[in-house]
């Protein structure tokens, strides 16, 4: 469904990605793990169209979508839950959700709003509150619910558990598991590598802008290069 081929992305003088490639097939949950500063967020933002890669290509359903505007990608069925959630704090919960359905028809938007209210009872309770007043866990659920409003076929999630209390982390992981059962294709960046790899079909390990290892979740979790990459061992090996 998604093929990222050899992309290099720069911010001014900084090259954050050095020719990274990965693939996500329909129905898969793919984990992207790696230490901070490895370029995970850059990769997701490049795929979602917020950043333009200097070289390489991004293909969605076989079509070249490199450098396309985010709005066009949303219309093609891609949604990103960005790092730090970036919910609109001055808007109410309902307004945040409605915005998520920008590309949907009026009827669809209405139907999905009702659905969101059902699936996320915590949000229904705060329907007309400014999103700025939500707790971290509520805000994260809102961010996911908002992305789901466009009914994406491919959902990208960037650090969905960052800054959340352990019990809330469980809630988010349950949510991911549920979405996966529904057959939603997902590419997830997550700092809790152990846990996301247990859940994922496959995983990629990113380090200083390069994919250094990949494999099924279990393989990658067992790979010593994972530990070394995070805790600072010698240069990592790779598994395929």
């Amino acid at each position: 469904m998604l093929e990222v081929d050899d992309i290099t992305t720069r911010y001014g003088a900084i090259t954050a990605l050095h020719g990274a490639s990965l693939e996500v097939r329909a129905g898969e949950l793919v984990a992207l793990v790696g230490p901070n500063g490895a370029g995970k967020t850059t990769l997701l933002n490049t795929v979602a169209g917020l950043l333009r890669p200097a070289t390489g290509s991004v293909r969605l359903d076989g079509d070249d979508v490199t450098g396309m505007e985010p709005a066009s990608l949303v219309r093609r069925g891609l949604a990103l839950v960005p790092e730090h959630r970036r919910i609109f704090k001055d808007l109410t919960v309902e307004e945040n959700l409605r915005l998520g359905g920008t590309t949907a028809s009026k009827a669809d938007r209405k139907a999905r709003l009702d659905e969101a209210a059902e699936v996320f009872p915590v949000l229904r309770a705060k329907w007309s509150t400014s999103a700025g007043f939500l707790s971290g866990g509520e805000a994260q659920q809102l961010a996911v619910a908002r992305a789901l409003m466009s009914n994406p076929r491919l959902l990208l999630l960037d650090e969905p558990t960052m800054g959340l209390a352990p019990t809330i982390v469980d809630v988010v992981f349950d949510l991911l598991a549920r979405l996966r059962e529904q057959g939603r294709t997902m590419l997830v960046v997550e700092q809790n590598a152990t846990r996301i790899l247990q859940l994922a079909d496959r995983g990629y390990l990113l380090r200083t802008g390069n994919i250094v290892a990949s494999g099924t979740g279990a393989e990658l979790a067992a790979d010593t290069s994972l530990f070394d990459t995070f805790i600072g061992g010698e240069t990592s090996g790779s598994t395929s």
């Binding site: 001014g12 003088a13 800054g163 997550e190 700092q191 802008g209 530990f227 805790i231």
Partner: protein
């Protein structure tokens, strides 16, 4: 850079060349004859002074001011009331206050008095302008423009209201205007050579990095303001004596915009840009004026069209102005630069410990730090690690005075530096770098380092200060020394930020993610760079980084932060073996 003599020579020489070029052009133009041509040159020269006046403030500090015309106006009216002969004054201003009815000064005296009065008024108001940040200073100057305009229009005893004042003795010829313009040029050029002028440029380039390196924004901005008001006043006073009359219409917002267009079209950062802009816009204006038909009052229309188009094109195509940062004085500076032959002198390791104890920081309801603390001993390298959101950068910001702690204390030896501002902390001996690189991007590589060396010369003189060129060589940047820092590649920018901090001769270097975005080999090289530079200046190091390969290699001691508290600390090997650390990074098994 260089001795006082060199700097004076440079600004005078550069100014002389620019002035000669302008004079030659003017000469060619006026040789065609006609009084109107002479008066155009006179107008250009007084604009020239006003443009240089606003360049000193707007160009060097990056703060937009609408208010300068108000000060030109104050000076022009001050000139009028002290210079108009007593008899004429009795008729025009019978109720003039302050015993001014008997005052009648000559051209020189009137100019001096007018500039002095304006500078006093400007210096008072400048305190408010220079303390404010963001858009507020611009708005304050806009409000001041209206205040002065209203005063001039309505304080009839002193100004004769909207009609204006005439009968100011006209000083003949353009020679004295050339002299005034030359003085303004030398002052503006020399200001950029002065310590305080260079500091104000640093605050323009980065409002956050400058204080973190010990540069006080207010002081440098205020100096620029006062000098700039003095030049503007000179321009206003000379204009009044060139025309022989003043009225409120000469100093409206429109007149201010004309001067501003001259500055931004040429390039506001440099004196050369100001000169070029003045000449080009004056010439263009005149050219377009002649397209108009005096019978149809076209005279004013085409110049306005030209101004609008010129400004729009420059903003879209060259937002830094035609010259950008190219400058005759800058060229001379590079040509005259001779590196001092310096032997590397190693500084003694400092004697004071850096400690942070029980630091708590609450942002609203969110607890970023919850009793974190650490100690760095003189000459030691301490690594600070932890997962995202652990509070590492917040702790850095607390230590360097950017964030106020809710509880806890930061000490350097016996001194409590908890309540110090970033400027105070830097001068006390802590130099930091930033996670997302905060160089002075438009300044040369050498100037980036030289600026902190200037701070060190004033505030860190008790320490052995490293030589600038030695530091540049250490970082492998000698070759790029004259390039703009913003054009370096990433690794070099990081190394530049490191030596810029080192040039402060600090007791501790605080490095926030010095290897982020670097490749493995670059990170490895950074270990050596940091150790060497720190050794040279005898500083201890506190370093945050996510690259644990780098951290374990460089650190003597590692502190692990998690959820705002210290989770573990010890030698790299101890920390690596600690299962709590692995869990914090990789996540638990749920």
């Amino acid at each position: 850079m260089g001795t006082i003599l060199q700097r004076t020579l440079r600004s005078t020489l550069g100014s002389a060349v620019l002035m000669a070029a302008v004079a030659a052009l003017a000469m060619v133009y006026t040789s065609g004859g006609g009084a109107s041509r002479n008066s155009l040159i006179a107008e250009m020269l007084s604009n020239f002074i006003l443009v240089l006046g606003i360049q000193v403030f707007i160009g060097n500090t990056g703060v937009l001011s609408f208010g300068h015309m108000a000060f030109a106006q104050i000076a022009a009216y001050a000139t009028a009331v002290v210079a108009i002969p007593v008899l004429a004054k009795e008729k025009a201003l019978p109720d003039i206050p302050f015993g001014l009815s008997d005052v009648e000064l000559g051209a020189f005296g009137a100019t001096v008095v007018a500039v002095a009065i304006t500078v006093v008024v400007g210096a008072l108001l400048g305190v408010a302008v220079c303390r404010a940040r963001g858009l507020a200073p611009t708005m304050i100057t806009l409000a001041l423009l209206f205040v002065v305009e209203q005063l001039v229009k309505n304080w009839e005893e002193l100004t004769r209201g909207a009609g204006g004042l005439s009968g100011i003795p006209i000083v003949k010829g353009t020679g004295w205007l050339y002299l005034g313009a030359f003085v303004a040029l030398v002052v503006a050029a020399f200001f950029q050579e002065m310590r305080i002028g260079r500091f104000s440029v640093a605050t323009r380039e980065d409002e956050l990095a400058a204080p973190a390196l010990g540069i006080r924004i207010f002081t440098s901005r205020y100096a620029a303001w006062v000098v700039s008001i003095a030049l503007t006043a000179l321009g206003g006073s000379l204009r009044a004596q060139s025309l022989g009359s003043v009225n409120p219409k000469q100093f409206t917002m429109d007149a201010g915009i004309l001067v501003l267009v001259m500055l931004v079209v040429g390039g506001m950062k440099t004196v050369s840009g100001a000169v070029l802009g003045t000449v080009l816009i004056t010439a263009g204006n005149e050219l377009f004026r002649q397209l108009g038909d005096p019978e149809r009052l076209d005279i004013e229309r085409f110049p306005d069209l030209f101004l609008g188009v010129a400004m729009l094109l420059v903003m879209v195509l060259r937002p830094d102005g035609l010259l950008g940062d190219r400058d005759l004085m800058g060229w001379l500076r590079r040509k005259m630069y001779r590196p001092a032959k310096a032997e590397p002198i190693k500084a003694e390791v400092g004697t004071r410990e850096l400690t942070a104890r029980d630091v708590e920081v609450h942002f609203g309801g969110f607890v970023a730090l919850d009793g974190a603390g650490l100690t760095v001993r003189p000459g030691e390298v301490v690594g600070l690690i932890g997962p995202n959101g652990a509070g590492k950068t917040t702790l850095f910001n607390v230590i360097t005075g950017l964030v106020d702690e809710t509880a806890g204390a930061v000490r350097l030896g016996d001194d409590d530096i908890s309540t110090d501002t970033p400027v105070g902390v830097a001068r006390a001996g802590l130099a930091r770098t930033f996670q997302n690189l905060r160089l002075f991007p438009g300044l040369s590589v050498r100037e980036n380092v030289a600026l902190t060396a200037l701070v060190a010369a004033r505030h860190r003189s008790h320490r052995v200060r490293p030589d600038i060129d030695l530091l540049l060589a250490e970082a492998g940047l000698t070759e790029w020394a004259d390039r703009a820092a913003g054009t370096l590649d990433y690794g070099n920018q990081r190394r530049l930020e490191l030596i810029r901090a080192a040039a402060l001769a600090p007791e501790y270097l605080l490095l926030d993610e010095p290897t982020s975005g670097m490749s493995d080999t670059e990170s490895l090289a950074m270990v050596d760079s940091v150790r060497k530079v720190a050794g040279l200046i005898g500083a201890g190091v506190l370093v945050i980084d996510h690259d644990l390969g780098f951290i374990t290699r460089i650190s003597d001691h590692i502190v692990v932060l998690n959820e705002g508290r210290v989770l573990a600390e010890g030698t790299p090997a101890e920390v690596r073996a600690n299962p709590l650390v692995a869990e914090a990074y990789l996540g638990s098994q749920a």
